[in-house]
Symmetry: C2
Amino acid sequence: MNDFIFQSPTRIVFGRGYVDKTGAEVAALGARNVLLVYGGGSVKRTGVLDRAERSLSTEGVDYTELGGVRPNPEVRLVREGIDLARKKNVDLILAVGGGSVIDCAKAIAFGVPYDGDVWELFERRTPIKASLPIATTLTIPAAGSEASGSCVISNDKLRLKRGVSGDVLRPSVAIMDPELTFTLPQYQTAAGVTDMICHICERYFSGIGAVPVADNIACGLIRAIMEAARQVAKKPDDYDARATLMWAGTLAHNDLCGCGRSTAAERRAGGWESHALEHEISAHHSEVTHGAGLAVILPAWMRYVWPAHPERFLSFAKDVFGLMPKDDTHDADVETITRSIDELQQLFVSLGMPKTLGDLGLMPDDIEAWMGTLHQNRGEVFGEFKPLTLNDARAIYQSSF
Amino acid sequence: MNDFIFQSPTRIVFGRGYVDKTGAEVAALGARNVLLVYGGGSVKRTGVLDRAERSLSTEGVDYTELGGVRPNPEVRLVREGIDLARKKNVDLILAVGGGSVIDCAKAIAFGVPYDGDVWELFERRTPIKASLPIATTLTIPAAGSEASGSCVISNDKLRLKRGVSGDVLRPSVAIMDPELTFTLPQYQTAAGVTDMICHICERYFSGIGAVPVADNIACGLIRAIMEAARQVAKKPDDYDARATLMWAGTLAHNDLCGCGRSTAAERRAGGWESHALEHEISAHHSEVTHGAGLAVILPAWMRYVWPAHPERFLSFAKDVFGLMPKDDTHDADVETITRSIDELQQLFVSLGMPKTLGDLGLMPDDIEAWMGTLHQNRGEVFGEFKPLTLNDARAIYQSSF
């Protein structure tokens, strides 16, 4: 087991109807005047926004609304939010939404105390050290941003999508009400499921071997997610299955699955190869849902890299899918590993995710544009499980069509 | 899944040689003058205390020593520590040791800001709301107190052993250096392993059924602990196995395994029946190591209560030991459940734990004294998986001989 530092201090307030606790939780943090960030119309349509706002008013907490956060949130709205937060002199940023809304709220929260333009922090990519406090009322289980120290923002002008991190970005409180997700469309549910499984896999397939505590938690979470995802596809208002997805999504990305797996104690575990490859796609095509891109890229990456450490993929096949080689031959190993990747991809497809990038309306001709910004963002070689050259990356993209 | 509130904010600083980071971590919390609590001679003999103190001096942190904490720590030393902490005006309590040392440090930490005698807080058993900050450098993986919000203290005069809890009791930082445990005697290692498995089981066998995320984590942790415990018994300086035990011991008791399993959101999951039964034993016989008592009581409790929810024990048998009934009959279920409890007990015994209370030098005649304080502490009926009357409790004690 490698050395690690782990701190996940977010207060999790999890249960039926808990959206109505938003005001009380925010007030308990000492906030009196918040910027309330949200996305499109769904939180209005479903009444979630109203309920959150009513709970703020009940507690005497003032709020200013900033709506319109889109998937793959963009830096312009972040800048607008920073101006608004300064003008209103808010003391906390409250996100009511999914990962995009939370990430937008985070970028506003650390943009407020920063003197220059907020995008500089994404260019610099050093850990964020100062931020307004952040609270979240989660509506989409997927990104894990409700308890993570990361934040990803797109810059349309530069065609870049960049992440920063820092423990100050971990929200102070996450209010998690699985009932809010009953009406989530199957496509978004499935994209969320894919994203959380990918968050676990990015850590599981880091450069080091077995770490029993982390590995057992990782595989146990994936098994729970798979079972719940199948159930939700059949019965969207199954509370227990929705609750499983929501809680698993948080644990998939709060770094618990990376403890002891990182190459340096203060560094997040894993090479994040699939996220790196997918980010270029959704940076260039903001209509592509991150999780849907991952549903294609993760299996493609797995098929390309498994020969670097087949023993790791054999553990995955056994602990996630109960698959074991039928004998000691190389062929049996190949068959087992291939079947496990097939089963994972088949799960994604059965939930409504694309199987190829073509299914997302993308074309092989798009690859070179992604390669350009990939080079800019990641350099000549990136990744950890198997270091990937740009030619490797291109081959993975090509195999995804 | 039931509603829950979960917050485990302790900063985990985990790795080889990390005892030397004690001073830096304490200084980073802003402490300048600490009370350093430790136990018997082992931290002196092994040089651990010296290293911790040197690291404090390097960072310019003053300290006052309070040694001599015994297993099943007693309230008199807590009172002495409170006086000393007030006299020296310390700003943090640092525990260097195992669960007993940490619990003594915690009681001092919340005793300092309390006006009356500290034992009143144990009699009242309401959540603790105010405390000095606590830091720990862990030397014995077992109690999980390094990240938990609980504290158990004995009162020899009253022959009572009582626990209190509160989120302010969660240490701010836990420095975890598995190398410190290489020299831990096998008996103490095994008692620690038993304690952590029991912490998981107390939650797993709560009054509600399956909760996939919590259950997968619980069973995964137990599997990792069992494998590491067998390895450490063979090779006491196996770093990875020692590290597995240390980290699993923390997660066994930081409430992660209870999320969604508690009957009320703010309440710890589980009925804690085995702990209740064992506490009476070590309250009356302070020479009994808590984990050693549990090694007898946990299987005895399991054998007594499983018919209340056999399906839960069948899940345990499958997910921890890979045991499945060979057919659909009641007999096959009984056989599977019995075998899983046998295997668990056999593990404890193989690690050097007692099989009966007689092995601990106790006598059936002692039972009535335990029953007296059990009644005083728990009333006529206690427990959750199967509510236990005093007659049930007596029967479990009797079956333990």
